[in-house]
């Protein structure tokens, strides 16, 4: 390999099937100036130790599958230049707040169930067929939800959110931002169908506004901002329900 500099990666190893305890394994890597952490892990897997398990697909910050804890921070490993961690060592761990399947791979099933809870799709009774044309939106209507629609489901926000470690039932930043993304979409009429999931103690109100989700988000989705907008809408709804006569409440 035509490496120029050397750095040590300390990689989290764990295989629940062999009954062993988790441990860190060190690998020394010669790297090129443009290498990212993912390049080093792929090189280690190809050249030194083929037993390492990790997820990756696109290598360009689009697929959201290579999220890991890099020196204790949630990062896309394809966006983390090794030279920024020189002289090392670089400690690489699976995303925190998730069960570990093997080594750097986490179990995503809880996250996928959370996404489904907020019904992340446009809901309305009068579905047009394509013959009637598209649902048109003004630039302002698109701007209302656009930044919250950029999520790549990388789960870094779940690893960054301290509430996730304290409240395992918390719906979490990405799911709440996604629900809010559809609530803010002028084409959507499904807010009432999301309110039970989103406005409960494990939903919007579980958030204590630490804001770390927005700090670690690689796509500037600003989940913390989406959650705050959701809280304003939910509070308005709470007061509306409060002043309505009892028979009129849903």
């Amino acid at each position: 390999m035509a490496g120029e500099k050397r750095i040590t990666l300390e990689i989290f190893r764990y295989n629940p099937e062999d009954g062993g305890e988790p441990f860190f394994q060190s690998y020394e890597v010669e790297y090129l100036n443009h290498w990212v952490v993912l390049d080093a892990i792929n090189w280690i897997k190809d050249e030194i130790d083929g037993t390492i398990a990790h997820r990756w697909t696109c290598r360009m910050g689009v697929c959201g599958s290579c999220g890991m804890m890099v020196n204790g921070e949630p990062k896309l490993s394809c966006h983390s230049l090794l030279r920024d961690y020189a002289p090392g060592p670089v400690r690489v761990e699976p995303l925190q707040h998730f069960p570990v399947e093997k080594d750097l791979m986490i179990d995503k099933s809880g996250f996928m169930e959370r996404l489904a809870e907020v019904k992340p799709y446009i809901i309305r009774d009068d579905v047009n067929d394509t013959g009637n044309g598209e649902y048109l939106q003004t630039p302002a209507q698109i701007a209302a939800y656009h930044e919250h629609s950029m999520c790549i489901n990388c789960m870094l926000c779940y690893a960054g959110c301290p509430v996730m470690s304290l409240e395992p039932a918390f719906l979490g930043p990405a799911a709440l931002a996604l629900g809010q993304r559809y609530n803010l979409d002028s084409r959507d009429k499904g807010q009432a169908e999301r309110v039970d999931a989103m406005s409960g103690d494990e939903g919007l109100w579980g958030c204590t506004f630490v804001g770390e989700c927005s700090v670690v988000c690689p796509k500037h989705v600003d989940p913390a901002g989406a959650i705050q907008k959701g809280k304003i809408a939910a509070a308005k709804q709470w007061y509306a329900n409060f002043i309505k006569p009892k028979g009129a409440k849903k």
Binding site: V195, A197, G200, D201, G203, W205, F209, K231, A234, W238
Partner: protein
């Protein structure tokens, strides 16, 4: 999931945060720095003006809102910080203590400001 009454406490927190951010720096600057460091004769005049101003009910109501809602803002933030620090087992006691103190603070602001 039940629809949460957290909306009520959060709305007081949010209102206190907005009013506090707008008015408290000005109040601290006026009463903490400007008046104490002004010329004593001038300061006495300004003080008289301030007391006159606080004699008006719209100003009193605004001041009560700023102080009272700021109490709720602090209570809500302290409550969530304590929960984040791992005291979730005592959630009820923490809520009672925090919001109870805020209610007392808000009542005290009503009594004190009304007497000006």
């Amino acid at each position: 999931m039940s629809r949460s009454n957290e909306a009520f406490w959060w709305s007081l927190f949010a209102a206190g945060g907005v009013l506090g951010a707008l008015f408290i720096p000005v109040l601290v600057l006026l009463t903490g720095f400007w008046l104490p460091t002004a010329d004593p004769v001038e300061a006495a005049e300004h003080y008289t003006h301030l007391v006159e101003l606080l004699g008006r009910w719209p100003v009193k109501i605004l001041l009560i809102a700023v102080i009272g809602l700021s109490c709720f803002m602090c209570a809500h933030r302290i409550r969530h910080t304590l929960m984040d620090l791992g005291l979730r087992g005592h959630a009820r006691a923490i809520s009672l203590a925090c919001y109870g103190a805020a209610i007392l603070g808000a009542l005290a602001s009503v009594l004190l400001v009304a007497r000006i």
